[in-house]
Amino acid sequence: MALKLDFDIVGGDFNLAGKASSKIKKKLIQLSIDSKFIKRIVVATYEAELNVVAHAYSGVLTACFEPDYITVLVVDKGPGIEDIEQAMKEGFSTASKRVREMGFGAGMGLPNINKNVDELKIESKLGVGTSLFFKILY
């Protein structure tokens, strides 16, 4: 039976951003997953978490730990992504000045998620929200 963990993400709260990824990292260490995979998983998860904090109102992150892989699903309530293809391009960003001042919003998040995962699906509806799913094989 796979282990499933759910986390709530609060839009705009940068002090809490990373809490879910941190707990997932500790769980992966506990499960003795190779550090190379842990880094890919937590970087992708953290980028996804940051996207919700930076762009959406709220979100739920669900991580499923399977024997040979992990899946992460992040569903947010937010403005949605107008053009997913454009958002996947390095350097394209709609992040606010505040987000940029914190060292993010350089348009590298989604491309970096794409680089670290084995499977990625993004669906978005304008004015409703975005769902991002990825899978990483150990």
Partner: protein, 114 residues
């Protein structure tokens, strides 16, 4: 390069991390852009930065960066120190600028990441 050497060369102060733990740092990366830090491949590096916020520590936790040096008298907040301690991250503060820290450490043998 040992942490103690980095401290000596940059006149830094250790504000988080176990001074008894020995680690060897071979490469350095200087940046204020956390998005960039999240794309790094190398593990045993020091991050030299002018940014001092909780997200810096979260970012290095996820990117597996073991040592962070805050430049030009940036002060680590108690939240940053406690998060660094929780994750075994060395956190240092130096009065030197990012340029000077980078120059001094490069001159003394630290290699660039790219």
């Amino acid at each position: 390069m040992k942490i103690s050497e980095i401290i000596d060369l940059t006149e830094a102060r250790l504000v988080a991390g176990n001074p008894g733990k020995q680690i060897n740092i071979e490469r350095a990366f200087s940046s204020d852009l956390m998005s960039d830090v999240l794309t790094l491949d190398n593990h045993q590096i020091i991050l030299i930065t002018g940014l001092a916020n909780v997200q810096l520590i979260r970012t290095v936790e996820m990117a597996d960066v073991p040592v962070v040096l805050l430049c030009r008298n940036k002060i680590a907040t108690p939240e940053m120190i406690s998060l660094a301690e929780e994750n075994g991250i060395f956190l240092l503060e130096t009065p030197f600028s990012m340029f000077r820290v980078s120059g001094v450490l490069y001159e003394n043998g630290l290699k660039p990441l790219y």
